[in-house]
């Protein structure tokens, strides 16, 4: 996780929100862990019409002006990474979306 470019902190959580690993700006941040667990459970119920039962969300990103959080689930663990946005990368993001 430390090797992720531009990361300023990360969290690895169990599905019930317990912190397994953490570092940087998110070190032992249980407040953010709880918010993210709630966010994931909310996102499971978004629009069954637009997103069918076979189209579960794979990734959630929360973007601020100068940093963003990437949230993914793998092997029943929730990975949260806080990454800073450099001006050049911000342009790249705008094109990608």
């Amino acid at each position: 996780m430390e090797k992720i470019p531009d990361q300023t902190g990360y969290l690895i959580l169990t599905e019930d929100g317990a912190v397994l690993e953490s570092a940087g700006e998110l070190e032992n941040d249980e407040r953010i862990a709880t918010i993210i667990i709630d966010l994931i459970s909310l996102s499971n119920t978004v629009d069954p019409l637009a997103f069918g039962p076979n189209e579960k969300f794979k990734k959630i990103s929360i973007t601020y002006d100068d940093h963003w959080y990437a949230i993914c689930i793998s092997n029943k663990k929730i990975y949260v990474v806080k990454r800073s946005i450099s001006p050049a990368a911000a342009e790249g993001n705008a094109i990608a979306v």
């Binding site: 909310l42 629009d47 579960k56 990734k59 929360i62 601020y64």
Partner: protein, 94 residues
């Protein structure tokens, strides 16, 4: 009365790869919905944006992007109004 809002929604719907669009107020009541966006999801979308705002409440509301295999849902809050755009994913070209 909602002519201006309808115009904005129509403009968004005219954007390439957009399949749906939804606008809701702070109570989770739907103000406008078009395309694949269903009126019933207004409450959940507002709840998601509120939840995301709690991460860093002193900063301005973030943009939340929910990604599925071929679709994505972008949620942005502006004041009391929350907007959501449903898009088809395009091939990433880097």
């Amino acid at each position: 009365m909602e002519k201006d809002l309808d115009k904005v929604v129509d403009e968004i719907m005219a954007t390439p790869n957009v399949s749906g669009c939804l606008v809701a107020d702070h109570q989770g009541l739907c103000l406008a919905a078009k395309g694949t966006a269903h009126v019933d999801s207004a409450g959940i979308i507002v709840a998601i944006s509120e939840q995301a705002c709690k991460i860093q409440p002193n900063l301005k509301p973030p943009t939340v992007c929910l990604e599925a295999d071929k679709k994505l849902c972008l949620i942005q809050r502006h004041g009391t109004i929350t907007g959501a755009i449903y898009k088809q994913k395009t091939e990433m070209k880097f």
